[in-house]
């Protein structure tokens, strides 16, 4: 039995809300992350999905201890890092790197690409000047940039290229765990696909473990092994990719799946929208936090908090009625991509591959 690389146990992050200029009174608490537990196995990709304000990015930052948790245990490679000293944490961070959402604000505009990519190595005392130089060139090649890009500045690059630089920086110290915080959300569609493919290739090559944060379920389906769905600071469902998409048991997961616009004009009526807005995390609803928007809510949901419980092999959901929630049939009523389009895509891929071998 392999040990999890990262393990969160009942982790909470509460932000006090204060009022008053001189004498500050605590008037409430924002429960940003409220009792999150999961395990991340080596070489695996766990995706954390949810809408803005659900606490997914906070969870990612908590996992790396970039922010301090209020309570709970975070174990990295078996070691509780919530109590680790600064020096220990510094050493550990070599092992855990992060890729940020916005490639425009996460690269220092006054540093060259070489300086940016080499910085983690400098911080962690890896190699000497010459070996770092070589490593930067090697990393640039890995992320499909050219060695001569090393002397340029971030503003000379497009969004996709900047994200590649961010990935090269994260990989420079050969981490085991990479937290990807919405790495493709700010990119154009065609560039998104390039970066998603690159992340998958790199994972295969270096056996990386990814904690992948995203607001979209479609991208996640391509990169993850397991998926956790968050709502108002809590995990409402966590399962293998296959069981989550084929048999979502939490009404919120179903709503997220249903809300994603399907790229097929012949299936328009399928789009059913969830009413209402996300409630404030300052005063989350009583009972099940989703009951205010849930189409299946009953009396019990208003008063009793549902536990995140096992409902199948590796499949956990936090719903009183997880077993009786109607099956979700979004993908069963259609036959997927139109065969004609499928052929086209295959033709495109073949030609692209042929062209790549000619130029190589």
């Amino acid at each position: 039995m392999t040990k999890p690389l990262l393990e969160l146990e009942d982790v909470r992050k509460l932000y006090p809300v204060k009022k008053g200029l001189i004498v500050q009174k605590e008037v409430g608490t924002v429960r940003a992350v409220d009792g999150v537990s999961f395990q991340l196995m080596p070489g695996e990709t766990l995706a954390v999905v949810g809408e803005s304000g659900c606490g997914k990015s906070t969870t990612a930052r908590l996992a790396m201890r970039l922010i301090e948790s209020t309570s709970g245990t975070i174990r990295y490679d078996g070691q509780d890092i919530t109590k680790a000293t600064r020096q220990d944490m510094r050493r550990l961070r070599r092992d855990m790197q992060i890729i940020f959402q916005d490639p425009y604000s996460s690269l220092n505009p006054r540093m060259t690409v070489e300086e940016i990519i080499a910085e983690p190595m400098v911080v962690h005392n890896v190699g000497d000047r010459a070996s770092r130089r070589d490593r930067v060139r090697e990393l640039l090649r890995l992320v499909d940039l050219a060695p001569y890009h090393a002397d340029r500045y971030p503003h000379e690059f497009s969004g996709g290229q900047r994200q590649r630089i961010g990935i090269a920086r994260a990989l420079s110290v050969s981490p085991r765990l990479v937290v990807c915080d919405e790495p493709v959300s700010a990119l154009d569609v065609s560039i998104q696909a390039q970066i998603v493919n690159l992340l998958k290739d790199l994972q295969k090559e270096f056996g990386l473990t990814y904690l992948f944060i995203s607001h979209g379920l479609a991208v996640v389906k391509h990169v993850s092994d397991r998926v956790a769905v968050m709502y108002l600071g809590q995990i409402v469902e966590i399962a293998d990719k296959k069981s989550l998409y084929d048999n979502p048991r939490h009404p919120y997961t179903q709503a997220l799946l249903a809300a994603a616009p399907e790229p097929d004009p012949s299936r328009r009526t399928a789009m059913k929208s969830l009413g209402g807005d996300l409630p404030s995390p300052l005063s989350p609803p009583s009972g099940c936090r989703f009951h205010t928007r849930c189409p299946l809510a009953q009396e019990r949901c208003r008063s009793e908090v549902p536990a995140l419980r096992e409902i199948g092999a590796g499949h956990r959901a936090a719903c009183h009625f997880a077993e009786s929630v109607p099956a979700f049939d979004r993908f069963r009523n259609g036959e997927g991509i139109h065969p004609r389009l499928q052929e086209r895509l295959a033709l495109y891929a073949r030609h692209k591959a042929a062209l790549a071998t000619v130029s190589a």
């Binding site: 391509h222 996300l278 389009l341």
Partner: protein, 326 residues
């Protein structure tokens, strides 16, 4: 046959820069009929937003409309004096933008802002205008509109703000609504609500909609016709079902392949290699040729014109129809 609301003919929007004249919109012809939605798809730098600003007469200087016509119900908007254009804008043609927070004024109540839009085009009493504004808020399904009228933008959620923007845009019952990435900044469940709302409002009012987006999923859900833009040009135009079943331009196919899909398990996405070229460094020949897997020698020399493949389907590609030529 329903009336053609907007007919863009050979529109060129140019910017004079140190690097020479840049054509952000380069010879575009498109039209949209009453009660229908034209989806314009393209990535950043494709010129889709500049196209909508050109229609609105809001091209930022030093940009200018260099060639072509924008016929709105028979009137050429490019020839209209600014005062006449101002009468149309927000009245007969409205626009909603991507970021509902930055397009609303934070120091005024939403009610004030809607009334302001109405007052620009109507001479009515304040009480009457307020009534109309509340009606507009009710139309976009904002709960308790009387109360919301007196609230400030920061008191509303992102989805509510976008509803307010739509209410403002539709207050004068325009013939044409230009929606520039109206749901990009919103969460999926809220996006679904807003798209649903636009569909319902269109059915009620019969307005024409130009929906600008980079999301093929959104287009598939709401558009009747689709135009795919690349580097300032329309590369493919067809009814929505055609585009999604029989895409002909390699760029359109690449976009379809780049989209992660939930109903399919594909190991690798069919990505488009390379990046959109900057407008001052466009390649000779077809602008997509450096990224195109089907590229041939002719593609590097001459630019293909947008040519009809069937009645409704037009493609700008030397290799179209695709299967016959590759």
């Amino acid at each position: 046959m329903s009336e053609t609301i907007l007919d863009i003919r050979g529109l060129v929007t140019a910017f004079n820069t140190r690097n020479g004249a840049i054509r952000a919109v380069d010879g575009i012809s498109l039209s949209v009929k009453r009660g229908t939605t034209l989806g314009i798809v393209g990535e950043s730098g494709s010129g889709k937003s500049m196209l909508s600003l050109s229609v609105m007469g809001l091209v930022p200087p030093p940009g200018r409309i260099a060639e072509g016509q924008v016929m709105f119900r028979g009137t050429d908007l490019t020839k209209l004096p600014p005062s006449k254009m101002r009468d149309l804008r927000g009245n007969r043609i409205s626009m909603i933008f991507q970021e509902p927070m930055t397009s609303l004024n934070p120091v005024h109540t939403v009610g004030f802002q809607i009334v302001e839009a109405l007052r620009a085009h109507r001479k009515e009493t304040a009480a009457r205008l307020k009534e109309e504004a509340i009606e507009a808020l009710r139309k976009v399904r904002i709960p308790s509109p009387e109360r919301r009228f007196d609230e400030y933008p920061h008191q509303l959620s992102g989805g509510m703000r976008q509803r307010v923007m739509i209410a403002m845009a539709l207050a004068c019952k325009p013939d044409l609504l230009i929606a520039d990435e109206p749901t990009t900044a919103l969460d999926v469940t809220i996006q679904a609500q807003i798209l649903e709302l636009l569909r319902e409002l269109q059915a009620e009012t019969g307005m024409a909609i130009i929906l600008i987006t980079h999301d093929l999923g959104v287009v598939a859900q709401v558009a009747d016709e689709v135009a795919v833009m690349y580097a300032g040009k329309v590369v493919e135009r067809a009814p929505v079902s055609r585009v999604f079943q029989d895409p002909q331009h390699p760029y359109t196919i690449g976009l379809m392949g780049s989209m992660p899909r939930m109903e399919e398990d594909v190991d690798r996405l069919v990505a488009i290699s390379g990046v959109v070229p900057p407008p001052f460094r466009l390649p000779p020949g077809c602008r997509f040729n450096p990224r195109c897997p089907f590229v041939g020698s002719e593609c590097r020399v001459e630019q293909p014109a947008l040519a009809a493949l069937t009645d409704a389907h037009a493609v700008a590609c030397w290799k179209a129809p695709l299967e016959e030529h590759v």
